[in-house]
Every structure is written in structure tokens, then in C-alpha cells.
Amino acid sequence: MGSDLPAATQVTGAPVIQAERVGLTFQTADGPVHALKDVDLAIRAGEFVSFIGPSGCGKTTFLRSVAALETPTAGTLRVNGVDPDAARRARAYGYVFQAPGLYPWRTIAGNISLPLEIMGFSKSDREERIARVLDLVELSGFGGKFPWQLSGGMQQRASIARALAFDADILLMDEPFGALDEIVRDRLNEALLALWRKTGKTIGFVTHSIPEAVYLSTKIVVMSPRPGRITRVIDSPLPPDRPLDIRDTPEFIALAHEVREGLREGHAVD
């Protein structure tokens, strides 16, 4: 954090998330549903990885498996070198959902304090952490407000602050900006990128939006449904420092095209 070097240039070492032939089959009344099949993927520390694909391609299921909210039925999945359940207990990740899920009866600071209370941090430690993450998501001064006093974008920023408060190295985000309008979304994308560069977190990001995936990621994982699988893994050639207007450059457009091709490919198999 002390270094001004962009985190993306520090990507080194063993993978923090490693999937080998991971499969997950749900047993339903209509027979088995193959949510994930033979997923191989390695994510290294400091990478920003987007998962993109149509509904039912297993992108959310994969993210939930990393978080130990689902249990794969085949293959091996390691987070920080241990199984996802142990990683969760070691506070390896913070999870951000599509809805902020803030408690209306707690202030913003109170909401960020919630996981810290559950994990048993001391009061002074909690206060120091709340101030730090509020600053990180540019919500300093809003700690005493209640969620309904904030806009949707600010609420989602508060939920990101909550996920960052206990210093997990991995941030898992499941369509965090999916419910927001495009203008707010652009601003939050920019802020998220700045936050990632500043903290060097490893980020797993599920999205439906091609521009969002291309703008944010160092690696784009294109997935396709029935069975849910990875069809393409694209390493981004874009520099880590990305102003919003990078989206008008030929490199960006070419990359978006490649992602679109990947998505189409998945459907052709269908």
C-alpha cells in the first residue's frame, strides 16, 4: 500500500484461487442441473478477474463456491492454498452482493461495524477500521447517516466498505452495480478501479456488462451455459491506469470485440 506502483504490476507468486476440474451439479425435481463442469482456473494475487456470460453459465455459482456458499461436487477448489470453508473462517474474502443489504436500524458506521462485531474486534479497533474504509470508499462524514438517507450508489459503496473492513485480501463481487443506473455505474467503476490500485486486493467480479468487464479487469473469464463452463480466458492488454475515456481507444474496442466473440462462441455450441 505504501508503494505507488500499480498493484497489477505486482502480480506474482502462487495462485490465491485455484480451480481444477471443478464441477457442481444441483439435484432438482427435473433431474440434475450441471451448474459448473470442468472449470480450470488460476487467479493470482492482485488480479482483477471478471466473470461474464449469459444467465445460467455458472459465474455466480463459481464465485459462491469460492466463498464456500456452495460446495462443488467434483474437482478441487483451493483458496489461499486451503479449502474454501477454511479460507472463509480465516476471513480470506469479503463478499459484495447485488443489493447493499444494509440494516435499516443501523447507521452506515453501524453496518460496517456488524462483521467486525461478529468477528470479535475491539471497540477502538472497530472505530479505527470504520473510519479507514469509509475514507477508502469516499464516504467519510456519512458514518452517522442511516441507509435510507443515502443514494443507491452510496449504499453500495457502504456495502463495499463493509466487505473491506476486516482486511480480507480477496474481494468477491456478484454484480455489485447491476441495479444502478449507467451514470452512477461509471462513477463506481472508476472508484472501484482506484480502490483496487490503492489496496492491491484480488478481485473476483461477476457482471453482465461487456464494457464493465473490459474496463475493470486484468483478466476476463468468458463462460457459457448448459453445462456452465469456461469458454475463454482473456488477459487484458490495457494498462492498469485507466481513465474512463480509455473506452474509446481501439485497444478497448478490440478487447470488447474479443469478449463478444467468446460469448457468441459459447452460444454456438448450444
Binding site: 459462491r64 466463498a67 456458499l69 472463509r88 473462517r89 476471513r91 474474502y93 469479503g94 463478499y95 452482493f97 447485488q98 443489493a99 443489504g101 440494516y103 435499516p104 436500524w105 456488524l114 462483521p115 462485531e117 461478529i118 468477528m119 442511516f146 441507509p147 435510507w148 476486516f166
Partner: protein, 300 residues
């Protein structure tokens, strides 16, 4: 909010006054008619026996001033109520305030026991599959047994164990009031959606932590809705508990002794006292509900 919803009203808060007054006046008028009609038989018998003809105005006057009317007129009930509430020292056995206090204390004790039991059972049901399947049928069955059949047994069994006074009545009140709390809280504790529960899981929260920090606060709107039903049910339970022979204190005993001695005015005065008590208790719960939910951002 409700004022804005009644656009016919020129003065905020008075929008419902006219219709409400009209209904009350209509009820009072009907009541007077019914009193004249129902009490007339006795007056006609009396005058027929005396061989006197009775003019209609006299008949009306007589039917509305009987000592033990079949149906006392509103002003007689109002007078009985006033004498019972304000005409006696509150420590007197003839004071409705004293009887109301006896009933109220058992009601509140039973309400507290019932609410506690309802919440505890609901917590158990939400957390244990076997409790979910085993407790609910019994809870439903407990409410299908007529309370009038249960109450004397509770009183007699506890009296034989040397327990009399407030506690037996409170247990009957609790019997009636735990059920709405149980049903409401089972629903309320299950309101947190999958995402909120997943968030808790992502923090490796324990079950007691999820209960204290998520399930219980989320259930409060349901709890308060249940409490309003439960406190009225507790009052009914207490009054029923005061009916079995032997009880000399409380509104239920007042009702019973009134019916023994044909004191219809006393019965009606006790009934109205019970109604006012119930209305007051429900209003009190509503007030606390509004304050708490507004503070928690859960109102509306």
C-alpha cells in the same frame, strides 16, 4: 398520513369525526329502542295485574328506569359505570377501578409469560427441524380446546396445589396469548432473505449471532402485530379465569356476581370497563410499536 388520505376533510384530523359520531348515535338510538321493547313486557304484566291502563309516554319512562332491567338503557349503564369508577374509594370492593386493577395485573403477568413462551418456542421452531414438526401441531391443538373448559381445571388443579390468586389467572391468559406471538414470530424470524443470511455466513457468524443481530431485529414488525392480538387475548383469558366459582375479585367475578343477582347494570358496567381496558392496552402497544419501528427505520 391518514389525514392526507381523506381529502373531504377541511380540518386535519376531523375527517372521520362525523361518520364515527353518526354510527355512535345510531347505536345509542337502537339501544334505547331495544331497551324499551325488551323491558316493556315486565311493565305490561305489572300494570295488567294492577288493572291500570298505561299510556305510551309513561311506559317509556318506566322501561328506562327499572332497577333490574332485561336490557339497561345507555344512561343507566353510564351512571353505573361512573359510580363504579368515580363514586367509590379505589380500594373499595365495589370500585370498578379496584376490580379492573385485579384483572389488569393478572392480564399483564399472563401477557408477559405468554409473550416469553411464544418467542422462545418460535426461536426453537426456526432453529430446529424436529421442533418445527413437533411443536406447531400441539400449539394449534391447544387453541382449539375451548378455554372455558380448560380454565376451571387450571384453577382447581392449582388451588389444590395451594396456588391461588394472580398466578392461575395469568396462566390462562398466557395460554391464549402465547399463540399469536408464536405464529407471528415464526414468520418474523424467517423474514431475512437468502442474501442477508449468505452475508452472515460469509462472515462465519454463529447461529446465536444471526439470531441476535439479524433475525430478532427483522422480526419486530411481526412481533408487534402479534402483541396487539396477544394482549387482548390475555385480557379475555384473565376474565374467563375469574369466572369459575370462588373468585371474588376482578371484572370476571363482577360479571358473574352481576348475573347471579340479576344486576344487569353491573354486568354492563363491568363489560364496558373491560372493553375500555382492552382498547387502552392495544393503543399502548400500538404507540410503542410506532415509536420503536420508526426509530429502527422499519415503519411502513
Amino acid at each position: 398520513m391518514t389525514d392526507a388520505a381523506t381529502p373531504r376533510s377541511r380540518w386535519p384530523g376531523t375527517g372521520n369525526l362525523l361518520p364515527v359520531l353518526t354510527v355512535i348515535l345510531a347505536i345509542v338510538a337502537l339501544w334505547y329502542l331495544a331497551a324499551v321493547w325488551m323491558n316493556a313486557t315486565w311493565e305490561r304484566d305489572q300494570t295488567a295485574r294492577a288493572g291500570v291502563e298505561l299510556a305510551l309516554p309513561d311506559l317509556i319512562t318506566l322501561t328506562l328506569t327499572q332497577d333490574r332491567p332485561v336490557l339497561p338503557a345507555p344512561h343507566q349503564v353510564a351512571q353505573g359505570l361512573w359510580e363504579g369508577l368515580a363514586g367509590q374509594p379505589v380500594t373499595s370492593r365495589r370500585s370498578l377501578v379496584w376490580h379492573a386493577w385485579v384483572t389488569l395485573s393478572a392480564t399483564l403477568a399472563g401477557f408477559a409469560i405468554g409473550t416469553g413462551a411464544g418467542i422462545l418456542l418460535a426461536v426453537g421452531i426456526v432453529h430446529s427441524r424436529s421442533m418445527d414438526q413437533s411443536v406447531m401441531p400441539w400449539a394449534v391443538a391447544s387453541q382449539t380446546v375451548p378455554i372455558l373448559a380448560i380454565a376451571p381445571m387450571v384453577i382447581v388443579v392449582l388451588a389444590s396445589a395451594g396456588i391461588t390468586g394472580l398466578l392461575p389467572k395469568a396462566i390462562i391468559a398466557a395460554w391464549l396469548s402465547f399463540f399469536p406471538v408464536l405464529v407471528g414470530m415464526v414468520k418474523g424470524l424467517r423474514t431475512p432473505d437468502a442474501m442477508q443470511l449468505d452475508l452472515m455466513r460469509s462472515w462465519s457468524a454463529s447461529r446465536p449471532q444471526v439470531l441476535a443481530r439479524l433475525r430478532l431485529p427483522s422480526s419486530l414488525p411481526y412481533l408487534f402485530a402479534s402483541l396487539k392480538v396477544a394482549i387482548a387475548a390475555a385480557l379475555v383469558g384473565t376474565i374467563v379465569g375469574e369466572l369459575p366459582a370462588g373468585a371474588t375479585a376482578g371484572l370476571g367475578a363482577r360479571l358473574l356476581s352481576g348475573s347471579y343477582y340479576g344486576q344487569t347494570v353491573q354486568i354492563w358496567a363491568a363489560l364496558f370497563t373491560a372493553a375500555f381496558l382492552a382498547a387502552g392496552l392495544v393503543a399502548l402497544v400500538s404507540l410503542i410499536e410506532r415509536r420503536v419501528l420508526a426509530r429502527m427505520g422499519l415503519a411502513g
